[in-house]
């Protein structure tokens, strides 16, 4: 910088001995192009992966090196063992089912009219995020048929086959009236002609309390017959159970059974608006009266889709609903690529449709099916969002899978990053064989 205007002539670099000038340049260009990707990969994939492996050997504070303790807990902690079991179920069931259902749909859509509409409908769930789909299914799976679509559907079908009743629920108002809504409520005391039995019921659901009923009355004794009353034994504040009081109404439409000594039904009668009923011309003897089970429509209580037992199958159904479309589209593409003449040739040779499918279509589709199967295998191992969205708090334990367990142990209250990292490494190890398989297949195809 001393202000000399001299330009020192250096010998041209052409003579640089070991590497030709172009090579260095080439490397630089390559490095330049690789650098952005390398930086991002290193920062967001390689470094976190290595850090996770290291972290998995430390305890939850991150200060103490604990060797394989976290990995031991992986197989002894109940929560994590359940997660591993559930993931095994997912792996065994879902890829097979999705591939099979996708295949069926793909083959069928080739044959039906409106196939585009059908394909669109099946593929549509793919356009929804898994979490949103999970929320949808969570609502559809609600147990009460009034609120959950799935149970509403079952209930609608069931209602066709069951008799409606005037009530769905009730209880005897005293210990003298026993039974259930299935076998009816029987008055313990025996009755004979001329008696006036009174059967009090309570706990009738508010919306079912009949509006057209009249104040209950105790009927006059019937000569050679049995007359009685069935009434709603409740007054605000409770009233006196077992006593027919002012202000209590009869229950109309109740089927009353007269049961003989053997327990068989001798006669039935219906109650009037004031709750009275009568059996005329009853022979002498001991009888029992009961509010018959026919009074009670057995309401459909709803399948407990979100309960601890069914939760994993429920989530799997929702998951298949999402992914069946993907499988169908990929397999349909494969199907379209199968040369028609081969199929024609098989048919000409006298093969049945089933044989054509078994012996020609399926083998030719093999590679495509493998792609779908392996993609699903990887997807299923890392399934997370839909489980989180569907399982209610009381069933998260039963619905747990490895990826969810990883998140739950690392965050979400437990905050054990050591154990969480161990779960992550375990998941990574599980995915590796599938990945290798996939890479090998890619190589072969290229």
């Amino acid at each position: 910088m001393s202000g000399s205007g001299n330009v020192t002539a250096e010998p041209p670099p052409a003579a640089a001995p070991p590497s030709p000038p172009g090579a260095w340049r080439k490397h630089a260009i390559a490095a330049g192009f690789l650098a952005p990707a390398a930086v991002f990969l290193g920062l967001w994939i390689v470094y976190p992966a290595i850090r996770t492996v290291i972290r998995s050997f430390y305890d939850r504070t991150g200060d103490t090196f604990v060797w394989f303790e976290n990995y031991e807990r992986l197989f002894t902690d109940d929560t994590l063992v359940t997660a591993i079991k559930n993931s095994a179920i997912w792996v065994l069931v879902v890829p097979v089912l999705v591939t099979a259902i996708g295949l069926v749909f793909a083959v069928l859509t080739e044959r039906v009219r409106w196939s585009v509409a059908f394909k669109t409908a099946v593929f549509m769930p793919m356009a929804i995020s898994a979490f949103a789909a999970g929320v949808l299914w969570r609502i559809m799976y609600i147990q009460e048929p009034e609120r959950g679509t799935v149970n509403a559907g079952i209930s609608a079908v069931q209602e066709v086959f069951t008799e409606p009743g005037v009530l769905t629920q009730a209880q005897g108002s005293t210990d003298g009236v026993t039974g259930s809504t299935e076998e009816g409520f029987e008055l313990d005391e025996a009755v004979a002609p001329g008696d006036v039995p009174q059967i009090g019921l309570t706990a009738i659901p508010q919306p079912e309390v009949p509006e057209d009923s009249a104040p209950a009355v105790v009927p006059e004794p019937l000569q050679g017959g049995i007359a009685g009353v069935v009434w709603r034994d409740f007054l605000p504040g409770g009233g006196t159970p077992g006593e027919l009081e002012e202000g209590e109404n009869g229950i109309p439409g109740v089927t009353v059974e007269l049961r003989d000594a053997q327990g068989g039904t001798a006669a039935t009668a219906k109650t009037e608006a004031d709750g009275t009923f009568a059996f005329e011309g009853v022979e002498d003897g001991e009888y029992r009266v009961a509010v018959g089970g026919a009074t009670f429509g057995q309401p459909f209580e709803g399948v407990s889709w979100l309960g601890a037992q069914l939760i994993t199958p429920s989530i799997i159904i929702a998951y298949i609903w999402i992914w069946a479309g993907f499988a169908m589209v990929v397999i349909a593409a494969g199907l379209a690529a199968i040369p028609r003449d081969v199929l024609e040739a098989a048919r000409t040779d006298g093969a049945t449709e089933w044989q054509v499918f078994r012996r020609v279509t399926a083998p030719l589709l093999g590679p495509v099916l493998t792609v779908v199967f392996i993609t699903m295998l990887i997807n299923v191992l890392k399934v997370f969002d839909i489980v989180l969205a569907i399982a209610p708090g009381s069933a998260v334990e039963s619905a747990n899978v490895i990826a969810v367990a990883m998140w739950r142990t690392s965050f979400s209250g437990v905050n054990d990053f050591g154990l969480g990292s161990a779960v992550a490494v375990f998941l990574f190890l599980l995915v590796i064989p599938v990945l290798l398989l996939n890479i090998r297949r890619f190589r072969r195809e290229v």
């Binding site: 630089a28 147990q143 508010q206 605000p236 504040g237 708090g393 739950r408 979400s412 209250g413």
Partner: protein, 445 residues
């Protein structure tokens, strides 16, 4: 060497990008302030400057209300920029990640003192003794103690919750002819009458385990008394202690009364808290009562058509076997992670009655601040539940929130899960107590 320069330029841009990203994730500047030593207790701190990053649990309406409080602060200190980041229910996750990454916010509001103890134990928190005078003046002893870990003050309970309340459908109570009960036996009897009337007595939000732990804690505080309650809180007595069994057996009188629970046990297990409230105030009602804290009121006004006092009302959790009046509740603790001067000033501000007033007048808020005038609360129901909280002679914090999070605060684990198991099978108090003890022993490790 044009390629070379270009490569470097590219790398430089990338590096800048990475740095920018990292900076964007940063909580805020660290400041250099040491605590201001002013002894002037009630004065609202003024004249500080800087940025304060707050991470909190409050979202939606609560976020708007809290931001109004923050505006009150920035009005006095115009040179401070406060940035509120609502993390909602995921706060433990988000915050744990930020802290693990060495990048905590200046201030966080924690829904569980257990979480505060976790962080304090790991040395992540800054003491807030600079505000000790304000806090001592405005808050009762029990709240100060709750904010103290090993003799050092770390937490200020800005927002409280009274969880010793039972909300009922006024129409159902009138129809069945029952009065709000004052004793446990009267409650059980009223439940029987409600059932005979045709409305199940209880709506239970069993999908959320915390509704069940709250019920247990209310019973336990009354059957075992505050001293045993404290000992169980700190796990000095085991969960297999006979007082726990007694409380579980009392609790079974409600959760075991399956015919009297809206939809039965299975349905209760799948009902989340908001639904458990709306079921009570639906038309026709699916149940008559929901046993939960003062925040039920907000859910009722937001999601149902019930009107206060004519449609819904509240009574205090009844006394069991002549137990003295007691309140079990919760609260959100404000804690400090950095030595930021502006953040310190904000904490001092939040300890004042003025700051409590700003939220209280908007409703949906109970302040533990005893110098807040109850007339500020917008309606009678809030006034009742909130002043019960600030004036309670016996106040105990939600026991499950005082446990290590893995035992007392995690969905699908520990107490939440075991109380759900108890709801499923209320006959086996002994067995469930044993499992609780095992889980507690593991968590306390």
């Amino acid at each position: 060497m044009r390629t070379r320069t270009r490569t470097f330029a590219l790398l430089a841009v990338l590096a800048a990008l990475v740095l920018a990203l990292a900076a964007a994730g940063c909580g805020g500047d660290d400041g250099d302030g040491n605590g201001n030593g002013e002894g002037d207790t009630q004065a609202v701190p003024e004249g500080v400057s800087g940025n304060v990053a707050i991470m909190g649990v409050w979202t939606g309406d609560e976020q708007a209300a809290f931001e109004a409080v923050l505006d009150g602060f920035t009005e006095i200190n115009p040179d401070v920029t406060v940035n509120y980041n609502p993390a909602g229910d995921q706060l433990p996750t988000v915050l744990a990640t930020a802290v693990e990454g060495g990048n905590p916010p200046d201030i966080a509001t924690l829904p569980q003192p257990g979480l505060m103890r976790d962080f304090a134990g790991r040395g992540e928190l800054q003491p807030i003794d600079f505000a000790a005078d304000q806090i001592g003046e405005n808050f009762s002893e029990s709240w100060v103690e709750l904010g103290t870990v090993d003799g050092t003050l770390y937490g200020l309970f800005y927002k409280g919750a009274n969880k010793s309340t039972i909300w009922y459908n006024v129409g159902a109570f009138e129809g069945a002819g029952v009065e709000p009960p004052e004793t446990w036996d009267a409650l059980l009897e009223a439940a029987g009458t409600l059932q005979a009337y045709g409305v199940p007595a209880y709506s239970i939000g069993g999908a959320d385990g915390w509704t069940l732990t709250d019920l247990f804690e209310n019973i336990y505080l009354r059957t075992a008394g505050p001293d045993l309650y404290d000992q169980l809180s700190s796990h000095e007595i085991p969960w297999t202690h006979e007082s726990v069994i007694t409380a579980l057996e009392e609790m079974a009188k409600i959760v075991g009364d399956t015919e009297n629970i809206a939809g039965g046990t299975q349905s209760a297990l799948q009902t989340d808290f908001p639904t458990s409230v709306t079921r009570v105030f639906a038309d026709p009602p699916e149940a008559a009562m929901v046993i939960e804290g003062d925040f039920v009121g907000g859910v009722v006004t937001e999601s149902t058509n019930a009107e206060p006092e004519t449609g819904f009302n509240v009574f205090p959790f009844p006394s069991v076997n002549d137990s003295a009046p007691a309140v079990m509740g919760g609260g959100d603790a404000v804690v400090l992670f950095t030595e930021n001067e502006a953040a310190q000033a904000l904490i001092e501000y939040l300890a004042t009655p003025e700051a409590a007033e700003l939220w209280a007048e908007q409703g949906g808020f109970s302040s533990p601040n005893q110098n807040l005038d109850p007339e500020i609360y917008p309606d009678e129901i809030t006034r009742t539940t909130a002043s019960a909280l600030a004036e309670a002679e016996v106040f105990r914090f939600d026991l499950s929130d005082l446990q290590p999070a893995a035992f007392g605060g995690t969905v699908g684990q520990g107490l939440f899960k075991l109380f759900q198991d108890f709801l499923r099978n209320p006959d086996d108090a002994q067995g469930i107590a044993q499992q609780m003890e095992q889980a507690a022993a593991r968590a306390y490790g």
